[in-house]
Amino acid sequence: MKVLLGIGGSEDSVRALEQTVERARAADDDLTVAIVENPNADATPDEIEDRVRGVLTDADLDAEVRHVAGDPGSRLVDIAEEEGFDQITLGGGETSPMGKIKIGSIAEFVLLNSHVTVKLVR
């Protein structure tokens, strides 16, 4: 399966990266990692790339890593639809101090607008 993982540096997106890489290894998925600009995340795109490459190396998985400029949600949907991806994978939300799950704004946009299957990782 051709999988597009969007990662912006939030904690849940890093968790999604780790699980998606593990899953890609097990299922022999064709994984592309898209580093997006998440205004709510502290990490820079280069720091995120280092993190991504580290996880890929540890897992001994070959995957394309690219930087995506512009509005993250709409760019991910565009890429997935234009390039024939089977699935977009994203972090499934952060939790509040209370423990309430809050879906990020990128995931909200992708869920509502993507014609490609979307997977949120918890």
Binding site: S96, P97, K102, I103, S105
Partner: protein, 177 residues
Amino acid sequence: MSRDRIYPDEPSGPFPEPPLSFEDRDGREIEIVPLDPAGDDREALVEMYLQFDPADRAQGIPPGQERRIRDWLDTILDDDCLNVVAWHGDEVAGHATLVPDEGAYELAIFVLQRYQEAGIGTQLMRALLGYGASHGVEKVWLTVERWNRAAVGLYKKIGFETSDAESFELEMTIRLR
């Protein structure tokens, strides 16, 4: 993921301080008291959440399964949180909590299904805010699923104002002082 929340300029209240008791609309005697973390309150709360209808979950809480319920209660019954419980005899009918969050508090309230629509939620909210105000709480926020009209109506009646309507959930805030 922190950003500046907007709070009303004017404080709401005053709200009554617990303990307090009242008769609900179904004639049940309800007593609202601050949670005693040392006593049997925790087990009674676990019991309420085990009975809680999953259809009334909001954004993943309360969780299902006893282990997850206990983990979650460990978080929100911590010493720096403020909790009040609505008792009907020795059974918990409802529970409301304030959890500290960067100078403000996040609020959540749960009323067991067979005690809903009897006025307990309103009293529980007011008692929690009274308890908070007496402990120096100034700013409180919450999120609520926008289709949950009953809850949104209750929060508005208490004095909460919508501070963010951009996401799936509405964010509402109130100022106590």
